[in-house]
Structures are given as structure tokens and as C-alpha cells.
Symmetry: C2
Subunit: 218 residues, 2 copies
Amino acid sequence: MSQAVPIRQDARDDCAPDTKNRLLDAAERVFAERGYDGASMRSITQTAGSSVSAANYHFGGKEALWSAVLRRRLAPMNEARLAALAGLGPRPAPAEVFEAYFRAPIERRSRVGTASHSSFQRHVMARLYTEAPERAHALKVELFGEVSARFHEALARAFPAAGEATLLHIEQLAVAALVHVLSGELGAAGKDDGTLLSVLVAHASAGAAALTDLQEGR
Amino acid sequence: MSQAVPIRQDARDDCAPDTKNRLLDAAERVFAERGYDGASMRSITQTAGSSVSAANYHFGGKEALWSAVLRRRLAPMNEARLAALAGLGPRPAPAEVFEAYFRAPIERRSRVGTASHSSFQRHVMARLYTEAPERAHALKVELFGEVSARFHEALARAFPAAGEATLLHIEQLAVAALVHVLSGELGAAGKDDGTLLSVLVAHASAGAAALTDLQEGR
DNA sequence: GTCTATATGTTGATAGAC
DNA sequence: GTCTATCAACATATAGAC
């Protein structure tokens, strides 16, 4: 019989990633670097050391592979955010709300995945916000709808004087800051998570208070 | 002889745009909607009612067409910003600095171009920030380098207590907000320029002050 | 200047062997 | 499950007529 012992090729991993996960890891990297249209199935499967047909067998097509990549990271991340938002009191401080919203994404921004490094995951999420709407919209609702709703509610409790329009501005500017940070434009220079988080929280909290004042001053 | 009088096809325009400008307009729209990789020369030239070869004749290739699109809008916009920043006093208020930085992009976000509507220009600029670095970096330096430098200097005068790291955070978060706004996620809902501008200025000013405090509190 | 026609490569997806 | 081989459609770019 074949006596080839399955040699562990990398001593740091305690289990060799199967093809499906190698494909997910590779797709994550390539989609992050080049965007949806710029990433070809060939470049992805080549990076994974596999073939186009294997990817199509496991995922069914390019678009399905893309959404699988996003889902794998974003689903657990958003569960953590939901838990943090649910843990807030009835009248939370602004900084508490923003921290609940920002912490999980920031912490995961350079985390090592179960199988391989995935420091590029951040780019994928950041790019989600500039992909074509017809491709991204349904997925954004599915992945972020619940978090956005709870974030909105928590902000409304933290800023009881703020109207709907003001709350929307506050939320959108929080998203803007987060997306920009995750895309690496800010804090790529080896910033530790704690510093980055406190910068984001302080900036968003003060900005939100200013918008509430602005609204009242009219 | 051919008696076909060149009928003016659109009474609102007082001069018919030539092929080159029709191509720029079309490219602006298609690049904005689909990004660089998602936009094909065929779809662009078809939108312009022209042909691929005409585009290559005028611009030399896809990448050159793309940078021509960006340059056409961004060069005058950034000149306006430079003039506004140069007009600041030696010790400007934070809100003055941010307004000088934000006003021109906001005002141009839905302006009608010389030849045709170009409400999509905003998306092109927003997308510039997620295009592949090797494609976008040189152009970003060329188009935004000067503005960024003057913005940095003005911020340093407005926040004399802020260190370099803090100033960088302030700048990056201003860019983040602006890009997000221009991409249409915020303020797409018929916001007038004045409201949007004051929201951005108020948010950025308060956020910047908070970051300066945060730095000192350490 | 602008077109049609074409050259040459790449794409996403699938068929079928193993 | 995973591969190789192949498909039709698409990409960018160019040659050459007018």
C-alpha cells in the first residue's frame, strides 16, 4: 500500500488546510489586493495551488466565492459587535457605543486566521463599500443590517436630543472612519489596536456631540 | 452637394461636444459606476457613441484615459482648495481650515460640467482611493500632494499643540469623511451643499480638538 | 479624426478522465 | 474531489481604409 506518510508541511499549523480553505485564503488575499473585477479566478486558484474547476466545484462560481470570503470573516465579527451593543445600558455614554461598534473590527484587522495569515481581510471589507451596488448591496444588508440597526438604537439612546438626520450623519461618518482605517490608509504604520481604537472613539464621540449641538443651534 | 445642415441635437448646449470630450464624459460615467477593472473600453466608447480606436487615438490606452478623466476634474478642484488654504491667516480657526479643505469638493460634487452632466464624478474620485496602489499612487501624489502638504501646514497652525502623529490622524479622518461623502453613501439624499459642508466642518473640528486633548492627556 | 476589421490574449465556466 | 482540456465570450490594442 501507499506508505507515504502525510508529512506536515508547516510545523506551526496543527492541521493542514484542505483545498476549500486554501481557496478561501487565497481568494481573500487576491480580492483584497485587486478588487472583485481585478481578481481573476485563475490568479486566485493559482495562488491557492489549485485549479479553477476545484473552486467552482466548492463554491459554484466567482461571485459565490467572493461572498463566501466575506461571510467567513464578517459573520463572526458582527456577532461580536452585536454582543457588545447588546451589553450596553439603557443610557450609554457616547464613547461606550462607539467602542462597542469599533472594537471587533479593529481587533480583527490584523488577526491570524485559523489556517493562514489573513492580514488582508481588512482590504476586502473596505472594498465592499466601493464594489458595484448590484453586487454588494444584498450582502451588505445581510451582513451589516442587524449591526446597523442596533448601532442606530444605541446612538439614539446616547444622544437623545439628536434627530434622525443627525443620527444618520453620525453613523455614516463612523462607517467612513472605520472603512478608511481598515483599508490601511490610516494606522498602517504599526499602530497598536488600543491606540487606534481610542483615536477612533474620541474622534467619533466629539464629532457626534458637535453635530447634535449644530442641530440644536438652528 | 450634401445639404444636411448640422442640426444642433441638444438645444441646451450651445456647442456640440467633440469626440474627445464625449469620450471623457462617457469614461467618467462608466469608471464611476464600475471602477477601473469593471469598465471596459467597449462599454465606454459605446456610451460615447464612438469607437475603441478613437479613444486610443486620443488618449493612447485605457490607463491614460482613466488618468485624463481624473485630471480634468481634480486639477481645477485642487487649485481652488490651494487658493482657499493660501488665504488663511497665520493662526486660523480649525473650522476655517476644514472649510477651505472641504468646500471645493463638496461644491463640485453635483456640478454640471462644461459639456454634459457629470454627477458621477464624485464616484470616480472616491474610487481613486480603492484602486490598486500601483495604478493610483503616482496620480494621487501628482493631484493631491500639494493640497495635502498645505492642508497639513494649516492644521499645524490651527492646532499648535498637536504632534505629528495626531495631525496625521486628523488629516486621514478628514479624507475618510470626504471620500465617503463623495461616494454617495452620505448626503446622496438631496442634501444641499451648505448643510453638508457645515456637518463635515463641525464634525472634523470637534474630532480634531478631541484628538489633541487625547494626546495631551497621556 | 474616425471608422471597420482583426490580431492576440484573457476571462468565467464546464465536460469528462481519474 | 481534483485535475486537464476546452469552450464561447470578452478584453485591449492595432492596422489600414476613408
